[in-house]
């Protein structure tokens, strides 16, 4: 493989997570954190970054150990590796940012069972070199963080009239409370997926017209 091809493959692995294989919008993975903690933009960002840390670290470790881990117990091994990093995140958040840790509550610990992370270990990190695995993990987790913000920012603006805790509108703004409550999460993701469907279907239709 020439150097140019190599580089284009790397950027491909990195970029696919952002848009083409976006974990939340396209594969619909990792939904329970995506809906549960996205009631404010800060919580969404914190959850995205925590997931990024866990995904990147466990991808590195799984990729390094990929020839040592026996095939039969690989899933268990991945889960133990992931759980270790989640414990690290859990304890560090509790130490450095106690307020965010309190708001995210048990959902930090629930990163362990986020199907996105286990999915990347099984599908990518266990078969590829460390460098590529890191790029894949970074792309996927940036895509995840992006999706979290896409859900969290509108929910906070509509539901409490603020962004990153700064009030946006005047006194007269009447918050749309249901948006920061659980149903708001379902609606927001539902409408975002609707938009995504509309965009892809329109693109396919246009491509068909151009082909004909």
């Amino acid at each position: 493989m020439t150097e140019l091809e190599n580089r284009s493959q790397s950027s491909e692995e990195f970029l696919k997570g952002l848009w083409k294989e976006n974990p939340v919008f396209i594969s619909v993975l990792g939904m329970c954190p995506a809906l549960a903690v996205t009631n404010t933009a800060i919580n969404s960002l914190a959850m995205g970054l925590a997931t990024t840390f866990v995904l990147v670290c466990s991808s590195i470790l799984v990729s390094l150990l990929r020839s040592i881990i026996p095939k039969q117990v690989r899933i268990t091994a991945y889960i133990i590796i992931i759980a270790t990093f989640v414990t690290v995140v859990d304890f560090s958040l509790a130490a450095f940012t106690p307020t965010i840790h309190k708001e995210l509550g048990a959902f930090i610990a629930l990163i362990v069972v986020n199907c996105l992370i286990l999915g990347r270990q099984e599908a990518f990190a266990s078969k590829n070199k460390v460098g590529l695995s890191v790029l894949d993990a970074l792309g996927m987790s940036l895509g995840f963080t992006f999706a979290m913000l896409c859900i969290g920012i509108p929910r906070e603006i509509l539901g409490s009239g603020s962004l990153f805790n700064m009030p946006l509108f005047g006194e007269s703004f009447e918050p749309w409370i249901v948006m920061i409550l659980p149903p708001g999460g379902f609606f927001m993701l539902g409408f975002l997926l609707l938009g995504f469907n509309w965009y892809t279907q329109r693109k396919e239709k246009n491509a068909k017209i151009l082909d004909a």
Binding site: L29, T87, G105, L110, V113, L118, P182, G185, F186, G190
Partner: protein, 191 residues
């Protein structure tokens, strides 16, 4: 006694695991196409949750006070292996029950609802009886949500729905409406 009823109703309706905490969404959206399958998945969920409740109590009483940093790892491993163990026992003792729950059991083990149950039980400091009642309520709540969504989805199949909203987007919006209806239960115990 009143306390136990409160724990059960709260887990079943007010703080429904699926509709208020978004736990166990993957099977909720994936397997809720047919009513019968959804109901059986719900039953399997109750079964695994009761085992989880028992395991959580054992771990919290005898293991975790000495090693709090092992919380996550031990929850996952102990729950997964004891479910597998009980699964083998059920296969031997009652093949019919195994056939009804069978394929779902390994799927559910790494479900976020199961780990969520273990964590919430720990955070709330429930004892054995309270923990088991909470597990039963949570399992029944997941079953209720699954059956409701599956029922509505079976109905939508005969409707004329635009292509653009078909699939997950529609399911999420239906789930949002059910979740909004469930918020009405919050007033149940306030007075």
């Amino acid at each position: 006694m009143e306390n136990l009823i409160w724990i059960f109703v709260s887990a079943l309706l007010i703080n429904n695991f699926t509709l208020a905490y978004f736990l166990g969404l993957c099977p909720f959206l994936g397997v809720s196409g047919k009513l019968v399958t959804a109901f059986r998945l719900g039953l399997a969920n109750i079964f695994v949750m009761l085992i989880t409740g028992a395991c959580t109590f054992v771990l919290n009483t005898w293991v975790l006070p000495y090693a709090p940093y092992l919380r996550l790892i031990s929850f996952i491993i102990v729950i997964a292996s004891s479910v597998q163990f009980v699964e083998m026992a059920v296969k031997k003792l009652s093949p019919e029950l195994f056939k009804a729950l069978g394929i779902f059991l390994p799927l559910i083990t790494t479900n976020c609802a199961i780990l969520g149950l273990a964590l919430f039980t720990t955070n709330k400091g429930y004892g054995f009886v309270e923990g088991m009642i909470y597990a039963l309520g949570a399992g029944a709540g997941v079953t209720l949500a699954l059956v409701l969504l599956a029922g509505i989805r079976e109905e939508t199949r005969i409707l004329n729905i635009p292509n653009v909203i078909k699939g997950t987007a529609l399911n999420l919006i239906i789930a949002g409406i059910i979740s909004m209806a469930f918020m009405g239960f919050a007033g149940l115990f306030s007075t």
